[in-house]
């Protein structure tokens, strides 16, 4: 009986979101679409960085990879976009495997810097294979008015990412990932194959960004290296996750919602101020509430660890 309340609330929310395109204007549908995208991205970042403590500063690389995969398949191979987008959700984890296998063996700071550089490497790679990717000029996809289906697809992605987070954080797999964050040496000494677990987390964290990137490409109709590999995207997903509460299930959702609204109010006119504020938020969160909003609530009100 106790569970019924929150469950109804959740269903109500989902229903409201599902019906949103019916009465909301195109602009508002776009807003929610982007919100969903941020939820998916923040949740995914959480899977690797929040749970294992391996900070991924280059996570947008998976997003960009998904975007280009979908873009290329739609443009050059005439794939229907839903399939192309899902393909993005496959190529991104493959990239994660290629990088993760060598890089996750590195200690914290080295891994972080390697990921920071990954971004740049991807941009160079994309520019290099310009026959396929259009290089610096970008790719133009055939126009398609598909905002609403993309909305639902992105919503499904966000939901999927959250469900995945829930499943992991409440499972023993999740506990093992967190033990890596808590004390990797002790975890190894207790029989946990930390390399393998880190890799799994990394792969899983690349799926949603890959799909989201593909959806973004379809929605915008045009992608170029700078639009899909911007550092700002990585920063934003990091801030959202930290702010809401890294390592929690709904922290990234909370962060995504709050900061999307904030972005809506500030960004449109003040791009640079907006980024400055993001920087300040990161500093503030790290110094004063490293566990994020949910983390603070967890401590203050003794909430369960799995929220």
């Amino acid at each position: 009986m106790k569970r019924l309340g929150p469950a109804l609330l959740a269903l109500g929310l989902l229903a409201w979101l599902a019906l949103w395109p019916l009465w909301a204007s195109g602009y508002r549908v776009r807003f929610m679409l982007e919100l969903f995208m941020w939820v998916a991205l923040a949740q995914s970042w959480n899977l690797i960085s929040g749970l294992t403590g391996y900070v991924s500063f280059g996570h947008v690389a998976f997003y960009g990879t998904g975007a280009y995969t979908a873009g290329i398949l739609i443009l050059r191979a005439d794939w229907p976009w839903p399939l192309a987008v899902l393909a993005g959700g496959v190529t991104a984890p493959i990239l994660a495997l290629l990088i993760g296998y060598p890089c996750l063996r590195l200690k914290g700071p080295y891994f972080a810097i390697a990921m920071l550089g990954l971004n740049e490497v991807m941009r160079v790679v994309v520019s290099y294979f310009d026959g396929l990717t259009g290089g610096g000029l970008g790719l133009s996809l055939p126009t398609l008015h598909a905002s609403v289906p993309v909305y639902y697809a992105m919503g499904a992605t966000a939901l999927g990412a959250t469900i995945l987070a829930f499943a992991i954080i409440t499972s023993r797999f999740g506990l093992r990932l967190m033990s890596i964050r808590e004390d990797e040496v002790a975890a190894e000494a207790m029989g946990i194959d930390t390399s393998r677990y880190k890799l799994y987390a990394f792969l899983l964290s690349a799926v949603a960004p890959g799909i989201a990137g593909g959806l973004f490409a379809r929605d915008q109709g045009y992608i170029e290296p700078i639009s899909v590999f911007p550092l700002l995207t990585t920063i934003t997903m990091i801030v959202m996750c930290l702010f809401g509460g890294k390592g929690t299930i709904f922290g990234p959702v909370l962060g995504a919602v709050l900061l999307s609204v904030f972005q809506e109010l500030v960004w449109a006119r003040f791009l640079y101020v907006h980024q400055v504020l993001f920087g300040v938020i990161i500093v503030a969160v790290v110094l004063f509430m490293p566990k994020g909003i949910l983390g603070v609530l967890q401590e203050r009100y003794r909430l369960p660890r799995t929220i």
Binding site: R172, R176, M178, R181, D183, V185, E188, A189, M190, G191
Partner: protein
């Protein structure tokens, strides 16, 4: 089983210019409690690290139940049946006490949970199973780490200063627990500075000094050994 459960043969470990462990050899018969003592810096923890895979020996071999384990990664060594605690407590602070144990469990969910609760009850931490390990007191964390080692039912248990900072009542519980483990047939190797604890518990003691084994024998013999006395008190 016959044959020693652990054989350390001529193991040497250097860190830069310092030789922490120098051609050290020892052999453990299953089912006994062993002590490992020596002045600070004599290489005891480094030896532990070599056995558990956290450090790779520069020379020598280590065999567990007849098979070589030197140069294996720590998690594989742990899975073969060696457990250890640390000098500085290494619990997982942001996980609850129960979760600290569940992390290590293998196998079925319900059974694992029951066993974890049993172990917590064993050290009187069952009431605190929902508490974050980081919020427990020093002594409680020590017990938690001790009991976490037992989750995978290791055959060989290495305890690094289990009595450090533990008050008298807790200590007695700990000693009883260790004897209990021996009764179950497990082998235990304890590093300790508290001489009383070591002499009380151990059936056989190894003494290290500057990374070398300088003496080996039952407590009465060690206590009277001139070299041991010199190592601890004789210099300077």
């Amino acid at each position: 089983m016959d044959g020693p459960i652990l054989e350390v043969t001529q193991v040497t470990k250097r860190f830069g210019g310092v030789t922490a462990v120098n051609h050290c050899s020892l052999s453990l018969t299953p089912g006994r409690i062993y002590g490992l003592i020596g002045p600070n810096g004599s290489g005891k923890t480094t030896l532990f690290n070599c056995v558990t895979g956290l450090a790779a020996p520069d020379a020598g071999l280590i065999r567990f139940k007849g098979e070589r384990i030197d140069h294996l990664p720590p998690y594989l060594i742990a899975r073969r049946g060696i457990g250890r605690t640390f000098q500085v407590i290494r619990v997982f602070p942001e996980l609850t006490a129960l979760e600290n144990l569940l992390v290590v469990s293998r196998g079925d969910g319900e059974a694992a949970r029951r066993r974890a609760m049993e172990l917590l009850t064993f050290v009187k931490l069952d009431r605190l199973h929902r508490e974050y390990a980081g919020n427990l007191s020093y002594g409680q964390q020590k017990l938690l780490e001790f009991v976490r080692v037992l989750v995978p039912e290791p055959e060989l248990i290495l305890l690094d200063e289990p009595a450090a900072g533990v008050n008298r009542t807790l200590l007695n519980d700990l000693l009883a627990a260790i004897r209990d483990l021996r009764a179950q047939g497990r082998t235990i190797l304890i590093v300790e500075h508290d001489m009383k604890v070591i002499m009380e518990l151990s059936e056989q003691i190894f003494v290290l000094d500057y990374g070398e084994k300088i003496a080996e024998g039952p407590p009465e013999v060690i206590q009277a050994d001139a070299r041991v006395i010199e190592a601890y008190f004789g210099r300077g």
